[in-house]
Symmetry: C2
Subunit: 256 residues, 2 copies
């Protein structure tokens, strides 16, 4: 029975897509079957894996709102065992259309149900907001992985995210756990990064992954070649960090 | 008659808030009266200027949906001539409440009308989405300033933004111009940054500001002290770049 992990944080640009793509790819190299779901209308996960968004006949929008079975929309990626449920601009329309429907929070959960047997992990990349698309991901998920940049504004947004999390648990998904908080874009030359790291660990304790993702240009270059970093520059610090994160994720249980 | 500029890009973390705060502060030092409007429920502009979000009795939400006059919600910032219309978590509610109202795109425009005589520039910081809050900002604005990071995913999102822009012009705001496209977080040591800079200039020509904002840690540190960079570290490269941007903005007319 596959585990569903939502990768979410309403703060923009903190490394949600980069983490979804590269954690997914790293888990796939451990002989696990991985599905990545692009729940962001920007479609960065889709294009970052080299999938042409404008040529998709079946995308996540049609799975959610046109009853297209999810497995018909699934595409393969450059890596064996790593599939994607891609999205295109149509998904922007879903943000308004879903709001008028009853059970609007459960559309993704229902769409993913038939897939849970075929994958070991299903990772959902979320947009930078706490709107209906992210809500769908949190309702469908077993756990939440929160990437956070080592910068001031990143800390600010955490309390809103935790408030949303407890509301989701009370109303829609009591089983939702925190998979972990991941420090990203860490530049050890900057005092600011060290201060934020210490702050986050002081507040969140063992919810914070030991693994820290360093700022590494290969991570920013890889998506322009449509590849996860493992296929673009496997010796880079970025690739090594995400492999380490995959190992850590497999060895630890999620926390409250 | 004050000029209203929306600072928007649905891509997250590209420097919207950092540009709103520091361009605003730089314009204020040129003896202009500046208002910054925090249209992002994250409230990063509000906290980045040292305003306590949780202690606000009147915030932008109440101006938009409780008919509180805008000037009653305005607070001063650490800089003379530089005021802010702050927001707190309530603004998240506006994203759903506005959707059910007729004229939902015009709420911010109506709220800012009485203020246009009292300020030379009104800058609106937008959330990382093309939803109803950003729509309100684009309808209220005379022009749009687009910050863009020198990274691959940043280029991807531009076509969606320009599509939205032409729809807004056709339906809601025919006068909306492009103030300019601003390259941010530029690290001259990276080939990727140079490639993206050349790409953006090739596609967008004179719509791109000459001024480029370098990656500079003082810009990331300043908000934790609740100050614009001019008051935190005026000799930094970040402060110099935003002063230069203010000069360039004042000397050029917006383009189509
Ligand atoms: N560790 C890293 N080192 C260097 N660059 C990185 C790293 N992680 C991400 N990036 C780059 O930073 C930018 C932001 O990352 P990304 O797009 O993954 O964030 P996001 O949270 O998904 O953004 P959004 O909120 O828009 O969805 C991208 O251009 C990405 O390539
Ligand atoms: N030129 C720069 N050099 C270094 N750091 C920067 C620069 N500009 C912005 N930052 C930092 O990068 C992060 C993202 O910037 P900012 O929050 O302004 O982006 P944004 O587009 O407003 O994000 P969001 O999409 O979440 O609203 C912040 O932590 C900010 O302090
Ligand atoms: Mg993303
Ligand atoms: Mg912002």
């Amino acid at each position: 029975m596959g585990k569903v992990i939502a990768i979410a944080n309403q703060k923009g640009g903190v490394g949600k897509t980069t983490t979804a793509i590269n954690l997914g790819a790293s888990l796939a190299t451990a002989d696990l079957r991985i599905l990545i779901v692009d729940m962001d209308p920007q479609g960065n996960t889709t294009s970052g894996l080299g999938v042409a968004r404008d040529e998709l006949s079946k995308s996540l929008y049609r799975v959610l709102l046109d009853s297209v079975p999810a497995e018909e929309a699934i595409v393969s990626t450059p890596l064996d065992g790593f599939d994607a449920l891609p999205s295109n601009r149509d998904l922007t329309g879903a943000t308004v259309e879903l709001l008028d429907l009853s059970d609007r929070e459960y559309f993704l959960k229902k769409a993913l149900l038939p897939l849970r047997e075929s994958y070991d992990f299903i990772l959902i990349d979320c947009p930078p907001s706490l709107g209906i698309l992210t809500l769908n991901a949190l309702v469908a998920a077993d756990s939440l992985l929160i990437p956070i940049q080592c910068e001031y504004f990143a800390l600010e947004g955490l309390s809103d995210l935790f408030t949303t999390l407890s509301r989701i648990r009370q109303v829609f998904n009591p089983r939702l756990r925190i998979e972990g908080v991941l420090l990203t874009m860490y530049d050890e030359r900057l005092n600011l990064a060290g201060q934020i790291r210490d702050d986050v660990r002081a507040h969140l304790g063992d919810r914070v992954f030991e693994t820290i993702i360093p700022r590494n240009v290969s991570l920013a270059e890889a998506p322009s070649f449509g590849k996860p970093i493992l296929l673009y520059d496997v010796r880079s610090r970025g690739a090594n960090a995400y492999l380490q994160l995959a190992r850590e994720l497999l060895s630890r249980a999620p926390v409250q």
